[in-house]
Symmetry: C2
Subunit: 254 residues, 2 copies
Amino acid sequence: MRFQPYRSPSTGREVRAVLFDTFGTVVDWRTGVGRQAAAFAADRGQKLDAAAFADDWRALYQPAMEAIRTGTRDFATLDTLHRENLDQVLRHHGFNPERLDAEALEELNKSWHRLPPWPDSVEGLAAIRRCYIVGPLSNGNTSLLLFMARNAGLPWDVIIGSDMTRTYKPLPTAYLRTAEFLDLNPGEVMLAAAHNNDLHAARKAGLATAFIARPTEYGPSQTADLVPEGDWDLTASSIPELAGRLGPEPVILQ
Amino acid sequence: MRFQPYRSPSTGREVRAVLFDTFGTVVDWRTGVGRQAAAFAADRGQKLDAAAFADDWRALYQPAMEAIRTGTRDFATLDTLHRENLDQVLRHHGFNPERLDAEALEELNKSWHRLPPWPDSVEGLAAIRRCYIVGPLSNGNTSLLLFMARNAGLPWDVIIGSDMTRTYKPLPTAYLRTAEFLDLNPGEVMLAAAHNNDLHAARKAGLATAFIARPTEYGPSQTADLVPEGDWDLTASSIPELAGRLGPEPVILQ
């Protein structure tokens, strides 16, 4: 089966693979991490502010990667960075991590492996997969993304984790090495993301771009990334809508 | 959903991922490459011995990888090695590659991306995937294995190509780095293969092992790998049979 793929105006290329930022674009990390942290606290007879806990943990994500991006630290996986940051977040929320069971903390760290997809994600990815390669283009490591996919039912064709490119977005190599593993020209790869800065970096690296609005990723009072802030190739409010914009029903050529 | 996974007697571990050798174990390269080479020749008004062409091309596979294994050559992908070897095979079969269109040769090289699965493969992988992570553990590069999977409908959870481990089986690092990307102990990973030497190497590296008999991989007069030549954890004559041996219907614990 062949079909007429979407041609990106910005790269001048037909798109072969649509790769997704995951945290926030495909899965709802705030609800998922918050719920699991609250359950962890409840098991220990404590209460915590689930959304604040998730927000605080997530807030340590960029600084932790930055040390690796700038070369002051060797590559370490996102699982490792999350685990280091967890201790700090626990203390901030009144827990002493040294008094908690190491195995239980490891399990809590894996809450990032068990995140609910946005309600449209699985259906949308399956639709796009009919005609395009689909995969994550995430700062998550391969095993994290794999277990996330199994838990959430995300129908990826391929998972190229940041431990394979050994770098973190938004450095250009994160995008370019991913395209290289796929043996595709960067312009044949589209990044779909809910974050304008990710799309800016992808475009600079030569990728096609699609904005997917996720206006409640950071809760009801989110102020950033509500609208596209660039002339991205495509804009959609859900992944099925992106599937529609990638083309009408495919033209079967053969 | 949790279930009681298969415990490997040789590793003493519960298996979490079942990874497959691909060429010969999951797909029938001899029929697939032979058919495409014959079509290539027919398009040019020529005839060729399809099975001999496939056998000759495949015979150059081990020597090409050996230069990389021994360190006399930097890592190069299997697509690259296949393309280099193709010129030699074409000459041997009466074609001058320098007189053939480069793009057509590139297409012929991609015949390794378009191989038919054995009749039981897709059903068997889907059955195993219900309870285990499934993926290839192959000397193929990621893009080759990805396009093969899309063409043959192989339901992999994850594809860790030899360009990610940057080494070739049967070197131990090929098995060990794959387990590392999955964040699993080697003993939690099972290699399923139709080749005893692959299983010997996997066992040495600490993996669980399963032999799948593919007695016509090399045609009707195959003499090697007809039977298991080690006390592998499991032996089966098809992938669905392996699915059965990995356990009866899973015991749902929760």
